[in-house]
Symmetry: C2
Subunit: 318 residues, 2 copies
């Protein structure tokens, strides 16, 4: 499901680091070489390149990329070059330190908590502690008001069972509990937090299917008029990320492109964070949801090296 | 702070595995050899011995120990031979599957959550998923009633910052929040759960000191008459495990020994789980709290190979 195209025979990390060094030296930067190397290496290869670069030149590769590149291209390459856990810790921290935190920002944390493996989530929490000298949970408690705090804290604290283990009786009884909470307009009820924050993703998808079967309406549509539109929208986002992450990211990309101007931060995040996860499925969903071609839309809304880099990650430029 | 005595020159894992195999073969078991090998190896060496044993004899070492040994000696050796994360996952699961779960049982989960490093806690949650096909949190939600559920869930879900980073203003303001909750008899208030479940241990110890300084009474003593004795005692145990784990375990050992009969399960757990952590400090606390010698008391209450094995882990038999 990854769109990343790694050549069969790659260079050694040392050779890649040397190639990057050459790209930085002299007048200007050879951006194409940067794309050529980093845009075709997976996370573990990029880690080895970072290490090799530090070993050979006693310099942090990411710092150097930061000073050599600029604009959206720089942001995308830097984000891509980070270790994925560290990258997501930084994305979450950026959100938490923003003055205004609307859903467009909070969804970044939801994506990390609900559209990642438990191993990635916990590696990200570990990276968060190392980078920011406090736990992710501490920052959520101090930066996010109720009732969003309660939901997000439950989600980021989870270490879910990650295999397919689905019980129909649990799906039915928990669909009923969710339905009860929604009817009572108590979207932050403990039961809601426990169900969404502890069950494995396969179980939750079955619970959502049961909800629709038993109550005649998809749970996301049933969440309305609960008296707190922000909380309603947050919870819908949570359900989307758990139920159909590929649709969620197709929507993030679409929203970043449509309308006046482009939301490059969101576009970059969606492509960089999903390239090695499910970007192929995101592209398929995009096409079926919007009857448009994702790659063509990216080409239409971006330019220069930024465009080239995104297309490389999308696997449509080699 | 570990009491474990590992010889300077140890055998290779293969040699240790062979030694154990010899101890199992023929008529009867050479228990002394089992103690001699396993009682002097640290967690990473024991892992290598388990692997080597499997490699050499295509047999699970722990299964073999189980069939060769018996009684409390068997329980102690088996518990000790497990990977520590797996061992604690099993201990927690045993508690959760018990019909009656009083504080004596629930404290096992509190110990794992509040007297371990965040890395150990998360490794234990991972092991729990692998062993029991569901998350620890799911079992807590389904097996533990309110309000204990809320407290325990907050504690086991934490991934705390693990370095010493203490803010006096936080200690003061959170001591005030805890004081407020205690005065309002709301021991399961969200604030209590957030503070105890997200802050690093050093910060929490300072918060407890502030509590005593600002309100003239140690927080543990101030928790009383809140209308729910079980919850009061649970919370006191949480505070003990965070504040002074060595005192907590000295108390566990003392309680397992005093009175009629011995509570071997608790005695074994305390010595096996702390031997590589802080058993030296536990021994010192024991002596200062009870004016008795821990080793002497263990000798007085146990016998045979079980006694020899505990004393080996206590470092007083080589």
């Amino acid at each position: 499901m990854s769109t990343l195209r790694v050549p069969d025979a790659v260079f050694t990390p040392n050779q890649d680091a040397e190639e990057l060094r050459k790209a930085f030296q002299g007048f200007g930067t050879d951006e194409e070489a940067v794309i050529w190397v980093l845009g075709h290496r997976n996370a573990s290869q990029r880690k080895k390149i970072r290490d090799a670069y530090m070993q050979l030149y006693n310099e942090n590769l990411i710092d150097r990329l930061h000073s050599e590149l600029s604009g959206d291209f720089r942001n995308a390459v830097v984000l891509w070059t980070y270790d994925p856990a560290e990258r997501d810790a930084k994305l979450a921290n950026e959100v938490l330190k923003k003055k205004r935190k609307d859903l467009k920002h909070l969804q970044v944390i939801i994506e990390i908590a609900c559209a990642s493996s438990p191993y990635h989530l916990v590696a990200m929490r570990e990276a968060y502690c190392s980078l920011f000298n406090c736990s992710l949970e501490e920052d959520i408690v101090s930066e996010i008001p109720f009732p969003e705090r309660k939901i997000l804290l439950g989600l980021v604290s989870s270490f879910r069972y990650d295999k397919e283990m689905v019980y129909m009786d649990v799906a039915n009884s928990e669909a009923a509990k969710l339905h009860e909470a929604i009817k009572a307009k108590q979207l932050d009820h403990d039961q809601v937090v426990y169900i969404l924050g502890t069950r494995n993703f396969h179980q939750l998808r079955e619970t959502f299917r049961c909800y629709e079967r038993n109550y005649g309406i998809p749970i996301k549509q049933d969440i309305k008029n609960c008296g707190d539109a922000d909380l309603e929208n947050l919870l819908k986002k949570v359900i989307s990320c758990i139920d159909t992450p590929e649709k969620h990211f197709a929507e993030v990309i679409r929203n970043s492109i449509v309308g006046l101007g482009t939301d490059e931060d969101s576009l970059t995040r969606a492509i960089v964070t999903r390239a090695e996860v499910d970007l192929k499925k995101v592209r398929e969903e995009y096409s079926s949801m919007y009857k448009d071609d994702l790659d063509k839309d990216v080409i239409g809304d971006t330019s220069g090296y930024y465009k080239d880099f995104l297309l490389t990650l999308l696997g449509s430029k080699f």
